[in-house]
Symmetry: C2
Subunit: 484 residues, 2 copies
């Protein structure tokens, strides 16, 4: 491929440094991940992004089942009266609800909301299902679509309708419910770091940022390449709030009717947006190997007249990779040059490219190229499957380390509002800051800097002693950042 | 267990012969498959029924992918104007639509329907995505929830909201689209017969029974144990109807803009209702092994003082079964007697029960009992895994043969309306009858007998020459039956 052509190719994607938001939209459209739909704020998940979600589901679902949870399915519609039962919950979600008011040619007696989350419906059912301590813990998860009529939307990250899982559990006491809450947060951390290669900060949300109706909300927070935060997963200890609202009682071991302690926890298709914004670069997508729909693309190279045996061998090796469980494919289209293909599959973020030409046929070798580091490795065809498997693992590690390094370079500690403001404007990223614990100070930080408290990290690198806003003694060290 | 207790147990399920509808509700409630929800016509899929659906999904999804389809996800909401574009489609679905009229605190400019099916939304997107013959065939499937505001509902079989898959494909010409339509019908037949053990009749729907907007609709029809029919899957050749309505055009190989030919096809959670009504008996559920959440229950038997080594051995064997991919579990609860457990797991339809007691420990044997035939087989513990795997396959065959025999005993051929009426009242089931092809005759059969044309079978056992209604020459041999 000529330099001119290459320039033209790259030009189609806005550089991240020029306009990160445009880069994002350019990449997801060009890589064919989504289409805007005719319904405001709703996108179509095209096959490649949907397959990323399917692979996420597979990993998470296995972990949920290993930890004793089972899936179930609850109605999409929630009667209006249900929302009224938990005061904070209705205040939090009411502004975002779509309402079904007519059905089957008639006006409904009671409006039905499309679920934004299912604590109310599931709470109602749990009150029917749970009678005794023998029924506890009740450990159920739901894979479903939910709708929140957002004012500002962004593909994958914030859409009116999105896909997610919501776990809902009921327990005998606070200790068991809190243990569950933390267990699921840890499963999310393991998944997002170990499968999506995104480093996260675990911590507790401040009261103003917690889930509407929760006692305590915990989150994992990830940093995008523009320094902004995405909340990658949340786990809530709901106390007895929903149990009281929906009368979820059980006969305990002392034969007394007692309210359950409940939890809920979820991750959603916004993870697709996060992994694009954490790993992508100016050449396009960079997909984590464990959720890449195609992990390896094999491209025969060399002059046309020597092509036939090369293509045959490439197909053979591809078949061996597939047999070993590697998601590999061959592109032997003769209408496109190898150079065009290299760019195309780099743009699509395929973790590994394998090139084999006539000389490799003689030497019994192949060239493997890593999408994330650009490293080229010459390996023997005989060992190809093992080499590919090892290199996929290496790509995962490289991606994680690269993202972690980026985060470290965009992470600071501040003492004053000025410092915070300057950092957010110049370096961009996350900042540790002390916080006195008052809503007023948190609100003022938001107004003056656009940053919100991401969470109170379990393991802060520093301990702050004075509030960044009022200068009084700090109760907590908080991670602040601008967020999606 | 005493005879009295056993009687009492069985009494809780209404016998099928007494009231089949009550039997059905008794069974699904007692086996804990579902709960009624507070939203009219919507049920909760509890973990056991949801897991049946997950296992169905796994089988079907693999077949869809093997045949070149990929999954995607399209919006839940469909703008009202979309329905207006295909005349038959809007007439067919309008009476059943729920409408979102308000969202985010505002009245919407255009009402949004909750999807009853997605031909319109997907048609709209295909018109954007498809440009050239190189984009064809477009082979996409969606796993989703859909809503049809039904007047009369029945758990699993007909609920306001249900889960399904809908395949939507676009092709260059009629031949390719028709090939796809038949391929998917055949995949459904293989699945329903080969996985759910339900024999089906493949055929074409009459014009009055076809999908709203289709050129031709094909179905597989199954007979329930009350002789009534359930349409277990449908595949539609849509011609260019939706392509014209949504402008799905492509540049063909002769460089001319041409309309695509499209198809759609689906099966839903009503299959759960069908498998219960086909296989269940007066003792409760009988689950097909390939979709049973638990395939084997292992029950230690014998006096308490000899129990310990038995339980240890049973757990060991259970572990070996699970390692081999069998969904097996142990019930070693000492609060319930073996007799109670036998009844309980028979009621829950678990395909195989394994009993091991102290004497079996000495002889190195175990007793396997088939849920469907009651057959007891004594096997060596050493060969248990292989024996169980073979017996699960046998149970599948037995269930299929039993269902087929029932259908043959409830299948006749009639020449007159009187004969048809008498058969439907006395024997119940399906009847071959000649049909002249007029809507009037089909309508009259429905009014006088309550039976509808199920389909025009591809392979009728007999060929009828005169119309059962008007006595004129028959154009088709049709299967008539009362339907859910």
């Amino acid at each position: 491929m000529s330099k001119d052509k290459e320039k033209q190719f790259v030009k189609e994607i806005t550089p991240q440094s020029e306009d990160f938001s445009r880069w994002y939209i350019d990449v997801i459209k060009k890589a064919d991940l989504m289409s805007y739909s005719p319904v405001r704020g709703c996108i179509v998940f095209k096959p490649d992004s949907y397959e990323i979600w399917e692979l996420c589901q597979k990993h998470l679902d296995a972990r949920f089942k290993e930890t004793g949870h089972r899936n179930a399915y609850f109605p999409l519609f929630i009667p209006e009266s249900f929302f009224q039962k938990e005061k904070e919950h209705v205040e939090g979600f009411n502004p975002e609800l779509p309402w079904v008011t007519e059905a089957g040619g008639e006006k409904l007696e009671e409006r039905l909301a499309i679920r934004p989350t299912s604590e109310t419906m599931i709470g109602h059912m749990y009150s029917e299902w749970i009678n005794s301590y023998r029924d506890l813990p009740m450990l159920i998860n739901q894979w479903a679509n939910v709708v929140r009529w957002e004012k500002r939307t962004q593909p994958f990250l914030r859409t009116s309708e999105f896909l997610w899982q919501e776990g809902h559990t009921a327990h005998e006491d606070e200790a068991d419910a809190r243990r569950e809450t933390m267990q699921m947060l840890e499963i999310y951390r393991e998944f997002v770091e170990g499968v999506l290669a995104i480093p996260v900060i675990m911590g507790q949300k401040t009261p103003s940022e917690k889930f509407a109706g929760a006692v305590d909300t915990y989150s994992i927070e990830a940093m995008m390449k523009d320094g902004k935060a995405v909340q990658a997963g949340t786990s809530h200890y709901l106390g007895t709030n929903f149990a009281v609202a929906f009368d979820i009682k059980y006969l305990n071991r002392e034969n007394t009717h007692t309210f359950c302690h409940t939890t809920s926890w979820g991750v959603s298709t916004r993870l697709i947006g996060a992994l694009i914004m954490v790993h992508g670069d100016d050449r396009g997508l960079v997909l984590p190997p464990k959720v890449a729909p195609t992990q390896v693309v094999m491209i025969p190279v060399g002059p046309p007249k020597l092509r036939e045996p090369v293509v045959a061998r490439v197909k053979e090796l591809n078949e061996a990779l597939r047999q070993a469980g590697v998601r590999s494919k061959v592109d032997d289209d003769t209408n496109q040059s190898p150079g065009w293909k290299f760019n195309e599959y780099e743009m699509r973020g395929i973790p590994l490219r394998i090139e084999i030409g006539p000389r490799d046929m003689e030497s019994g070798q192949a060239v493997i190229v890593s999408r994330v580091t650009g490293e080229k490795k010459i390996v023997t065809q005989e060992n190809l499957t093992a080499e590919v498997q090892a290199m996929l693992e290496q790509v995962h590690q490289d991606m994680f380390e690269k993202a972690k390094q980026f985060r470290e370079e965009h992470f600071t500690s501040v003492d004053t509002m000025d410092e915070l403001n300057r950092f957010l404007e110049e370096t961009k990223g996350f900042a540790y800051a002390g916080w006195c614990g008052s809503n007023a100070c948190e609100e003022q930080v938001k107004e003056e800097t656009g940053a919100t408290s991401r969470n109170i990290p379990f393991e802060p690198a520093v301990t702050k002693t004075t509030c960044v806003c009022c200068g009084e003694a700090a109760k907590h060290t908080v991670v602040f950042g601008r967020a999606y």
